[in-house]
Amino acid sequence: MRTSTTAPTPAGHAAITARGLNLWYGDFQALHDVDLDIRQGLVTSMIGPSGCGKSTFLRSCNRINERLDYVRTTGTIQVLGHDIYAPEASRIQVRRHVGMVFQRPNPLPLSIRDNVLFGTRLHGTGRRSRRDEDELVEDALRQVLLWDRVKDRLSRKATSLSLEEQQKLCIARLLPTKPSVLLMDEPCSALDPEATSAVEELIWELRGRYSILIVTHNMAQARRASDECVFMLMGKVIEHAATEQMFVSPARRETADYIEGRFG
């Protein structure tokens, strides 16, 4: 049974393609036959009430769910046309190409510089020269609009930054390993309104270079900061459409009810 109304995909590969994805936590089925095509280079938001499976879907896209040994998954997820659950696919490579940003900024207890370089040092073959590293750091921090603010204190602890800066740093540290997809699990819900709009601006800035999938509870955020929107309910994709269209004229009754705040 196909419950999604899939938006048309442009030629070439979608960033993320899920087909027949089912996921169980023990006996509880959290995802039911999810078919989704997340388009490349766009910002796609996922909305839905708590427990609807949006975070679970997100966490399936970099196989971090497998940390829990009672999770069982069937179906496929492709990232840029490559099956990430294929037997020969390595979780480590998947996570390198599909980065995740969390609700609470979680910089590592290292310097700002070491946070940015952490990923490349994990995967790096051989040592990089100091200058190469400097370039990586500057490039990543420039991309997240943080360079001018922190360039003079790169050796300071990342935990000394403000929450907004921490969250930007958490995005920046994903970039040196050249990911194609960025997953964000309510990236602004621990931030105040001003920081929220700064991070939203950044997400919009990164659009195009990366395919971004954001889970959010904030309907206004989904509306103003995404190209496409996915509405999920009870583990199923109810509707997937251009954001503008979904908020103006939702195709499904449940979507309309949720957007208008009749439940959730």
Partner: protein, 293 residues
């Protein structure tokens, strides 16, 4: 509205009086606990200080300890403790890493945890007999520093494991998540983030281990410590004296020991332990001050 008053009611006054009395009572009990600690230290210093001379610390014991110094006992204790540490620390930290970072919650893990708790509760004389059977005879270490050190290590392992595991668990889970999501393996996560941030806890376990190893008598008395020796140990398979056993001997086994000698030995023993504790506290404060998240 006019009869509104904020003065305490009678029940409230009674509760307040009770409160003060209880506070005083608890304070008194706590102070009571300080008495033995203070008294022990005071008696040792007063009685032992005359015997604490440079010669006492550096000369060989003579006449079964009734004369001379404690040089071989002091050095022997260092040997035994270092051996115990060298065995217990790697084993304990490895076990703690397994339990905290790798183990899943299943019957095996639960069994291991029960075993650790039970190991911590085994009386030291039982450890001593285990050490005789396992290390002296079965492993054929003979009565030696190695056998005694291993016995001490087995005895202190639970302390090392529990304190290390706790300090590993104190590292926030979000750091691990961040690492895993960047494609770090479990070991990379442990090596780069978890261990560097749990140093102070591991250090505490280590010092607790040292303090116990320094003070224990029973586990070493059948496994490697001897009554009297006038040469320094010559390797791990040598026997040696130890401060704790020497204290037992000069206070109960040897006759005509000058009064200040046992006190001076005890004072030395306690100073060794206290200074180790001091070092631990210093490092912990230093590491804690650095930690901020």
């Amino acid at each position: 509205m006019t009869d509104l008053t904020f003065s305490p009611s009678r029940t409230e006054q009674r509760a307040l009086t009770n409160q003060r009395l209880l506070r005083l009572g608890f304070l008194a009990v706590t102070l009571l606990l300080l008495i033995p600690a203070g008294a022990i230290l005071a008696v040792l210093v007063i009685e032992g200080a005359p015997g604490m001379t440079w010669e006492f610390l550096t000369e060989m014991p003579r006449d079964g300890g009734a004369a001379g110094g404690i040089a071989t006992a002091l050095v022997g204790t260092v040997w035994l403790t270092a051996t115990a540490l060298a065995v217990a620390l790697p084993l304990g930290v490895a076990a703690a890493i397994y339990l905290s970072e790798y183990a899943r919650d299943n019957w095996l893990t639960r069994t291991i945890n029960i075993a650790i708790v039970n190991l911590a509760g085994v009386p030291s004389i039982v450890h001593a007999l285990f050490g005789v059977g396992a290390f002296v005879y079965f492993m054929q270490f003979g009565k030696s520093i190695l056998a005694a050190g291993c016995t001490l290590a087995v005895m202190t392992l639970p302390v090392v494991i529990v304190s290390t595991r706790e300090s590993l668990q104190a590292v926030p889970h979000s750091f691990r998540e961040a690492c895993w999501n960047m494609g770090a393996t479990r070991w990379q996560t442990i090596w780069r983030i978890v261990l560097p941030n749990s140093g102070s806890g591991i250090l505490t376990g280590l010092i607790l281990c040292v303090c116990r190893a320094v003070g224990e008598t029973a586990p070493i008395m059948f496994t490697g410590a001897v009554f009297l020796r006038q040469v320094f140990p010559n390797g791990l398979f040598d026997k040696s004296m130890a401060l704790s056993l020497h204290l037992f001997n000069v206070s109960t086994q040897v006759t005509d020991v000058p009064r200040e000698i046992p006190f001076a030995v005890a004072l030395t023993l306690i100073l060794v332990v206290l200074s180790m504790n001091g070092v631990a506290i210093y490092f912990r404060m230093k590491l804690r001050g650095r930690k901020k998240w």
